[in-house]
Protein backbone atom coordinates (compact mmCIF):
# COMPACT_ATOMS: atom_id res chain seq x y z
CA UNK A 1 0.00 0.00 0.00
CA UNK A 2 1.55 3.23 -1.06
CA UNK A 3 1.99 5.43 1.83
CA UNK A 4 0.75 8.84 1.19
CA UNK A 5 3.44 11.29 1.89
CA UNK A 6 1.72 14.22 3.33
CA UNK A 7 3.05 17.53 2.14
CA UNK A 8 5.34 19.12 4.66
CA UNK A 9 3.43 21.34 7.03
CA UNK A 10 3.81 25.04 6.48
CA UNK A 11 5.91 25.73 9.50
CA UNK A 12 8.78 23.47 8.53
CA UNK A 13 11.58 25.78 7.52
CA UNK A 14 13.39 25.01 4.33
CA UNK A 15 16.69 26.76 3.61
CA UNK A 16 14.86 29.28 1.43
CA UNK A 17 12.45 30.01 4.24
CA UNK A 18 15.23 30.56 6.76
CA UNK A 19 16.13 33.78 5.05
CA UNK A 20 12.56 34.99 5.09
CA UNK A 21 11.90 34.12 8.69
CA UNK A 22 10.97 37.33 10.39
CA UNK A 23 13.50 38.59 12.87
CA UNK A 24 11.33 40.71 15.10
CA UNK A 25 14.33 42.25 16.76
CA UNK A 26 15.75 43.54 13.52
CA UNK A 27 12.92 45.34 11.80
CA UNK A 28 13.54 48.20 9.38
CA UNK A 29 13.18 51.76 10.54
CA UNK A 30 9.77 53.12 9.61
CA UNK A 31 8.93 56.20 7.54
CA UNK A 32 8.52 59.41 9.56
CA UNK A 33 4.94 59.94 10.75
CA UNK A 34 4.28 63.04 8.68
CA UNK A 35 5.41 61.29 5.50
CA UNK A 36 3.14 58.34 5.90
CA UNK A 37 1.09 59.33 2.84
CA UNK A 38 4.19 60.31 0.90
CA UNK A 39 3.77 58.13 -2.19
CA UNK A 40 0.10 58.97 -2.52
CA UNK A 41 0.68 62.70 -2.15
CA UNK A 42 3.47 62.69 -4.71
CA UNK A 43 1.06 61.38 -7.32
CA UNK A 44 -2.17 63.00 -6.21
CA UNK A 45 -1.11 66.38 -4.91
CA UNK A 46 1.56 67.75 -7.19
CA UNK A 47 2.27 71.47 -7.14
CA UNK A 48 -0.13 72.91 -9.66
CA UNK A 49 0.45 76.53 -10.46
CA UNK A 50 -1.10 79.22 -12.62
CA UNK A 51 0.71 81.67 -14.82
CA UNK A 52 4.35 81.80 -15.70
CA UNK A 53 7.16 80.51 -13.57
CA UNK A 54 10.88 80.82 -14.09
CA UNK A 55 13.40 79.30 -11.67
CA UNK A 56 17.11 79.71 -11.93
CA UNK A 57 19.42 77.88 -9.56
CA UNK A 58 23.06 78.80 -9.60
CA UNK A 59 25.40 76.46 -7.80
CA UNK A 60 28.50 78.12 -6.42
CA UNK A 61 29.79 75.09 -4.68
CA UNK A 62 28.78 71.52 -4.22
CA UNK A 63 26.86 72.51 -1.13
CA UNK A 64 25.99 76.18 -1.55
CA UNK A 65 23.66 77.58 -4.20
CA UNK A 66 21.59 80.66 -4.87
CA UNK A 67 18.22 80.63 -6.52
CA UNK A 68 16.22 83.29 -8.34
CA UNK A 69 12.60 82.75 -9.12
CA UNK A 70 10.07 84.88 -10.99
CA UNK A 71 6.36 84.11 -10.83
CA UNK A 72 3.77 86.07 -12.80
CA UNK A 73 0.14 85.22 -12.77
CA UNK A 74 -3.16 85.50 -11.00
CA UNK A 75 -3.14 84.66 -7.33
CA UNK A 76 -6.24 83.65 -5.45
CA UNK A 77 -7.56 85.71 -2.59
CA UNK A 78 -9.51 83.83 0.04
CA UNK A 79 -13.08 85.09 0.01
CA UNK A 80 -16.13 84.26 2.06
CA UNK A 81 -18.46 83.77 -0.87
CA UNK A 82 -18.14 80.78 -3.13
CA UNK A 83 -16.80 83.01 -5.89
CA UNK A 84 -13.12 82.85 -6.55
CA UNK A 85 -11.36 86.19 -6.71
CA UNK A 86 -8.04 86.38 -8.48
CA UNK A 87 -5.68 89.30 -8.63
CA UNK A 88 -2.78 89.34 -11.06
CA UNK A 89 0.57 89.70 -9.36
CA UNK A 90 4.23 89.34 -10.15
CA UNK A 91 6.86 88.32 -7.63
CA UNK A 92 10.57 87.81 -7.48
CA UNK A 93 12.00 85.47 -4.92
CA UNK A 94 15.62 85.20 -3.93
CA UNK A 95 16.85 82.13 -2.14
CA UNK A 96 20.02 80.71 -0.69
CA UNK A 97 20.56 77.04 0.07
CA UNK A 98 23.28 75.34 1.98
CA UNK A 99 23.09 71.54 1.88
CA UNK A 100 25.53 69.52 3.90
CA UNK A 101 24.99 65.92 5.03
CA UNK A 102 24.68 67.19 8.59
CA UNK A 103 23.28 70.70 8.19
CA UNK A 104 20.70 71.97 5.77
CA UNK A 105 19.73 75.64 5.57
CA UNK A 106 17.17 76.96 3.14
CA UNK A 107 16.04 80.55 2.97
CA UNK A 108 13.70 82.30 0.54
CA UNK A 109 12.73 85.93 0.58
CA UNK A 110 10.04 87.58 -1.54
CA UNK A 111 9.83 91.13 -2.79
CA UNK A 112 7.30 92.05 -0.13
CA UNK A 113 9.69 91.04 2.62
CA UNK A 114 8.28 87.68 3.54
CA UNK A 115 10.93 85.21 4.60
CA UNK A 116 10.49 81.48 4.56
CA UNK A 117 13.27 79.65 6.35
CA UNK A 118 14.01 75.97 6.90
CA UNK A 119 16.71 74.48 9.02
CA UNK A 120 17.74 70.88 9.65
CA UNK A 121 20.66 69.92 11.86
CA UNK A 122 21.74 66.41 12.79
CA UNK A 123 22.70 66.91 16.40
CA UNK A 124 23.77 63.32 16.84
CA UNK A 125 23.40 60.26 14.67
CA UNK A 126 19.83 59.67 15.81
CA UNK A 127 18.62 63.09 16.94
CA UNK A 128 17.68 65.72 14.40
CA UNK A 129 16.51 69.27 14.93
CA UNK A 130 14.31 70.78 12.26
CA UNK A 131 12.79 74.22 12.17
CA UNK A 132 10.44 75.91 9.76
CA UNK A 133 9.43 79.53 9.84
CA UNK A 134 7.41 82.00 7.78
CA UNK A 135 8.20 85.53 8.89
CA UNK A 136 6.46 88.67 7.74
CA UNK A 137 6.83 92.30 8.61
CA UNK A 138 3.20 92.43 9.72
CA UNK A 139 2.77 91.76 13.40
CA UNK A 140 1.12 88.51 14.47
CA UNK A 141 1.26 86.93 11.03
CA UNK A 142 4.48 84.98 11.46
CA UNK A 143 4.65 81.28 12.17
CA UNK A 144 7.47 79.15 13.47
CA UNK A 145 7.72 75.46 14.19
CA UNK A 146 10.49 73.48 15.87
CA UNK A 147 10.76 69.71 15.56
CA UNK A 148 12.98 67.33 17.47
CA UNK A 149 13.17 63.90 15.84
CA UNK A 150 14.64 60.86 17.43
CA UNK A 151 15.23 57.77 15.34
CA UNK A 152 15.50 54.50 17.17
CA UNK A 153 16.29 51.12 15.69
CA UNK A 154 12.75 50.34 14.61
CA UNK A 155 10.80 53.36 15.77
CA UNK A 156 10.73 57.12 15.37
CA UNK A 157 9.48 59.79 17.71
CA UNK A 158 8.97 63.47 17.11
CA UNK A 159 8.29 66.44 19.33
CA UNK A 160 6.89 69.64 17.83
CA UNK A 161 6.78 73.10 19.33
CA UNK A 162 5.20 75.98 17.52
CA UNK A 163 4.35 79.59 18.16
CA UNK A 164 0.94 80.29 19.52
CA UNK A 165 1.48 77.52 22.02
CA UNK A 166 1.34 74.67 19.55
CA UNK A 167 2.63 71.41 20.95
CA UNK A 168 2.64 68.03 19.23
CA UNK A 169 4.22 64.63 19.59
CA UNK A 170 4.17 61.56 17.39
CA UNK A 171 5.46 58.03 17.52
CA UNK A 172 5.67 55.35 14.86
CA UNK A 173 6.84 51.79 15.29
CA UNK A 174 7.62 48.96 12.85
CA UNK A 175 5.52 46.01 13.86
CA UNK A 176 6.52 43.67 11.07
CA UNK A 177 8.77 44.00 8.01
CA UNK A 178 5.82 45.42 6.09
CA UNK A 179 3.54 47.01 8.67
CA UNK A 180 4.13 50.05 10.81
CA UNK A 181 1.72 51.69 13.24
CA UNK A 182 1.89 55.11 14.77
CA UNK A 183 0.05 57.68 16.79
CA UNK A 184 0.17 61.41 17.36
CA UNK A 185 -1.19 63.94 19.79
CA UNK A 186 -1.30 67.71 19.48
CA UNK A 187 -2.46 70.66 21.51
CA UNK A 188 -2.96 74.24 20.37
CA UNK A 189 -3.09 76.64 23.29
CA UNK A 190 -4.27 79.66 21.36
CA UNK A 191 -7.24 77.97 19.78
CA UNK A 192 -7.77 75.68 22.77
CA UNK A 193 -7.87 72.64 20.53
CA UNK A 194 -6.33 69.29 21.06
CA UNK A 195 -6.40 66.09 19.11
CA UNK A 196 -5.14 62.59 18.89
CA UNK A 197 -4.63 60.49 15.79
CA UNK A 198 -3.54 57.04 14.68
CA UNK A 199 -2.01 55.83 11.46
CA UNK A 200 -1.05 52.55 9.89
CA UNK A 201 1.05 51.83 6.84
CA UNK A 202 1.48 48.56 5.03
CA UNK A 203 4.02 48.45 2.26
CA UNK A 204 5.63 45.87 0.08
CA UNK A 205 7.84 46.41 -2.94
CA UNK A 206 4.85 46.78 -5.18
CA UNK A 207 2.25 48.58 -3.15
CA UNK A 208 1.70 50.90 -0.24
CA UNK A 209 -1.54 51.13 1.71
CA UNK A 210 -2.01 53.68 4.47
CA UNK A 211 -4.82 54.67 6.77
CA UNK A 212 -5.06 57.59 9.15
CA UNK A 213 -7.72 58.60 11.66
CA UNK A 214 -7.71 61.74 13.77
CA UNK A 215 -9.99 63.10 16.45
CA UNK A 216 -10.45 66.28 14.39
CA UNK A 217 -12.76 64.15 12.33
CA UNK A 218 -10.45 63.23 9.51
CA UNK A 219 -10.22 59.74 8.07
CA UNK A 220 -7.76 59.32 5.22
CA UNK A 221 -7.07 56.11 3.35
CA UNK A 222 -4.73 55.75 0.41
CA UNK A 223 -3.43 53.02 -1.82
CA UNK A 224 -0.53 53.21 -4.26
CA UNK A 225 0.35 50.41 -6.64
CA UNK A 226 3.64 50.39 -8.47
CA UNK A 227 2.63 48.81 -11.73
CA UNK A 228 6.10 48.90 -13.22
CA UNK A 229 9.39 50.78 -12.85
CA UNK A 230 7.97 53.69 -14.74
CA UNK A 231 4.30 53.71 -13.85
CA UNK A 232 2.53 53.93 -10.54
CA UNK A 233 -1.14 54.44 -9.81
CA UNK A 234 -2.57 55.94 -6.66
CA UNK A 235 -5.95 56.45 -5.10
CA UNK A 236 -7.02 58.34 -2.04
CA UNK A 237 -10.16 58.67 0.06
CA UNK A 238 -10.64 61.43 2.61
CA UNK A 239 -13.64 61.68 4.86
CA UNK A 240 -14.35 64.18 7.60
CA UNK A 241 -16.99 62.80 9.90
CA UNK A 242 -17.58 66.14 11.59
CA UNK A 243 -18.24 68.19 8.51
CA UNK A 244 -19.38 65.27 6.32
CA UNK A 245 -16.95 66.12 3.53
CA UNK A 246 -15.91 63.29 1.29
CA UNK A 247 -13.27 63.38 -1.40
CA UNK A 248 -11.97 60.53 -3.46
CA UNK A 249 -9.27 60.85 -6.07
CA UNK A 250 -7.42 58.63 -8.47
CA UNK A 251 -4.13 59.49 -10.08
CA UNK A 252 -1.16 58.25 -12.00
CA UNK A 253 2.54 58.98 -12.05
CA UNK A 254 4.66 58.15 -15.06
CA UNK A 255 8.39 58.52 -14.49
CA UNK A 256 9.94 58.25 -17.91
CA UNK A 257 13.46 58.92 -19.04
CA UNK A 258 12.95 62.47 -20.23
CA UNK A 259 9.84 63.50 -18.40
CA UNK A 260 7.62 62.99 -15.43
CA UNK A 261 3.87 63.15 -15.95
CA UNK A 262 1.42 63.17 -13.08
CA UNK A 263 -2.33 63.41 -13.38
CA UNK A 264 -5.35 63.05 -11.19
CA UNK A 265 -9.11 63.16 -11.21
CA UNK A 266 -11.18 64.01 -8.21
CA UNK A 267 -14.70 63.46 -6.95
CA UNK A 268 -15.03 67.25 -6.54
CA UNK A 269 -14.88 67.55 -10.30
CA UNK A 270 -11.22 68.58 -10.45
CA UNK A 271 -8.94 67.19 -13.14
CA UNK A 272 -5.29 68.07 -13.07
CA UNK A 273 -2.03 67.18 -14.73
CA UNK A 274 1.57 68.29 -14.33
CA UNK A 275 4.33 67.61 -16.83
CA UNK A 276 8.02 68.13 -16.11
CA UNK A 277 10.09 67.57 -19.21
CA UNK A 278 13.83 67.57 -19.33
CA UNK A 279 14.77 69.44 -22.47
CA UNK A 280 18.48 69.41 -21.93
CA UNK A 281 20.92 69.00 -19.09
CA UNK A 282 19.80 71.43 -16.45
CA UNK A 283 16.82 72.76 -18.43
CA UNK A 284 13.32 71.65 -17.51
CA UNK A 285 9.98 72.63 -18.93
CA UNK A 286 6.93 72.60 -16.69
CA UNK A 287 3.32 72.51 -17.87
CA UNK A 288 0.53 72.50 -15.35
CA UNK A 289 -3.23 72.34 -15.77
CA UNK A 290 -5.94 72.16 -13.16
CA UNK A 291 -9.55 72.31 -14.24
CA UNK A 292 -12.31 72.57 -11.68
CA UNK A 293 -15.54 71.91 -13.52
CA UNK A 294 -17.80 72.51 -10.57
CA UNK A 295 -16.47 75.94 -9.58
CA UNK A 296 -15.54 76.79 -13.17
CA UNK A 297 -11.97 77.57 -12.22
CA UNK A 298 -9.44 76.88 -14.96
CA UNK A 299 -5.78 77.16 -14.15
CA UNK A 300 -3.06 76.73 -16.70
CA UNK A 301 0.59 77.40 -16.13
CA UNK A 302 3.90 77.04 -17.84
CA UNK A 303 7.39 77.37 -16.53
CA UNK A 304 11.05 76.86 -17.10
CA UNK A 305 13.60 75.64 -14.56
CA UNK A 306 17.27 76.29 -15.21
CA UNK A 307 19.93 74.68 -13.08
CA UNK A 308 19.99 71.49 -11.11
Amino acid sequence: MATLVSPPPNNVTTPADEKQKVDYLNLPCPIPYEEIHREAFMSLKPEFFEGMRFDFTKGLNQRFSLSHSVVMGPTEIPSQSSEIIKIPSAQYEFGANFLDPKVMLLGRVLTDGRLSARLKIDLTENLTLKANAQLTAEPNMSHGLWNFDYKGRDYRTQLQLGNGGLFGASYIQSVSPHLSLGGEVFWAAEHLKSGIGYAARYNTDKMVATGQVASTGMVALSYVQKVSEKVSLASDFTYNYMSRDVTASVGYDYILRQCRLRGKIDSNGVVGALLEERLNMGLNLLLSAEIDHVKKDYKFGFGLTVGE
Partner: protein
Protein backbone atom coordinates in the same frame (compact mmCIF):
# COMPACT_ATOMS: atom_id res chain seq x y z
CA UNK B 1 -19.61 96.59 76.67
CA UNK B 2 -20.68 97.31 73.20
CA UNK B 3 -17.56 99.36 72.65
CA UNK B 4 -15.34 96.52 74.00
CA UNK B 5 -17.14 94.12 71.71
CA UNK B 6 -16.65 96.36 68.79
CA UNK B 7 -13.00 96.85 69.79
CA UNK B 8 -12.49 93.06 69.87
CA UNK B 9 -14.19 92.72 66.53
CA UNK B 10 -11.98 95.47 65.23
CA UNK B 11 -8.85 93.60 66.43
CA UNK B 12 -10.00 90.31 64.87
CA UNK B 13 -10.72 92.06 61.62
CA UNK B 14 -7.32 93.76 61.70
CA UNK B 15 -5.58 90.40 62.33
CA UNK B 16 -7.50 88.78 59.46
CA UNK B 17 -6.64 91.71 57.22
CA UNK B 18 -2.95 91.48 58.07
CA UNK B 19 -2.93 87.70 57.39
CA UNK B 20 -4.72 88.31 54.10
CA UNK B 21 -2.33 91.06 53.10
CA UNK B 22 0.67 88.78 53.82
CA UNK B 23 -0.78 86.16 51.45
CA UNK B 24 -1.66 88.88 48.99
CA UNK B 25 1.92 90.13 49.12
CA UNK B 26 3.28 86.66 48.34
CA UNK B 27 0.81 86.20 45.52
CA UNK B 28 1.57 89.58 44.07
CA UNK B 29 5.32 88.97 44.13
CA UNK B 30 4.86 85.68 42.33
CA UNK B 31 2.49 87.37 39.90
CA UNK B 32 4.96 90.17 39.37
CA UNK B 33 7.77 87.67 38.82
CA UNK B 34 5.80 85.69 36.25
CA UNK B 35 4.73 88.89 34.56
CA UNK B 36 8.36 89.97 34.43
CA UNK B 37 9.43 86.61 32.97
CA UNK B 38 6.67 86.61 30.34
CA UNK B 39 7.44 90.21 29.40
CA UNK B 40 11.14 89.47 28.98
CA UNK B 41 10.52 86.28 26.97
CA UNK B 42 8.09 88.16 24.74
CA UNK B 43 10.70 90.90 24.26
CA UNK B 44 13.34 88.25 23.51
CA UNK B 45 11.14 86.45 21.01
CA UNK B 46 10.28 89.72 19.30
CA UNK B 47 13.95 90.66 18.95
CA UNK B 48 14.81 87.13 17.86
CA UNK B 49 12.16 87.28 15.17
CA UNK B 50 13.53 90.57 13.80
CA UNK B 51 17.11 89.24 13.86
CA UNK B 52 16.06 86.06 12.06
CA UNK B 53 14.05 88.01 9.52
CA UNK B 54 16.99 90.21 8.53
CA UNK B 55 19.88 87.91 9.24
CA UNK B 56 18.92 84.41 8.11
CA UNK B 57 19.79 84.75 4.45
CA UNK B 58 23.05 86.66 5.10
CA UNK B 59 23.92 83.87 7.56
CA UNK B 60 23.43 81.23 4.87
CA UNK B 61 25.53 83.25 2.45
CA UNK B 62 28.35 83.66 4.98
CA UNK B 63 28.34 79.96 5.84
CA UNK B 64 28.28 79.08 2.13
CA UNK B 65 31.15 81.40 1.24
CA UNK B 66 33.27 79.84 3.97
CA UNK B 67 32.66 76.25 2.90
CA UNK B 68 35.19 74.35 0.82
CA UNK B 69 35.94 74.90 -2.10
CA UNK B 70 35.68 78.61 -1.50
CA UNK B 71 33.64 80.42 -4.11
CA UNK B 72 34.78 83.90 -5.02
CA UNK B 73 32.84 87.14 -4.65
CA UNK B 74 32.63 87.49 -8.43
CA UNK B 75 30.91 84.11 -8.59
CA UNK B 76 28.46 85.19 -5.92
CA UNK B 77 27.47 88.43 -7.63
CA UNK B 78 27.52 87.48 -11.29
CA UNK B 79 24.26 86.35 -12.87
CA UNK B 80 25.76 83.52 -14.90
Amino acid sequence: MASKFSLKLGKVKARKKSAVTAEDDERSTIAAATKCVTEWTAWGLQKGKVITHYGFIPLIIIIGMKSEPRPSLAQLLSPV
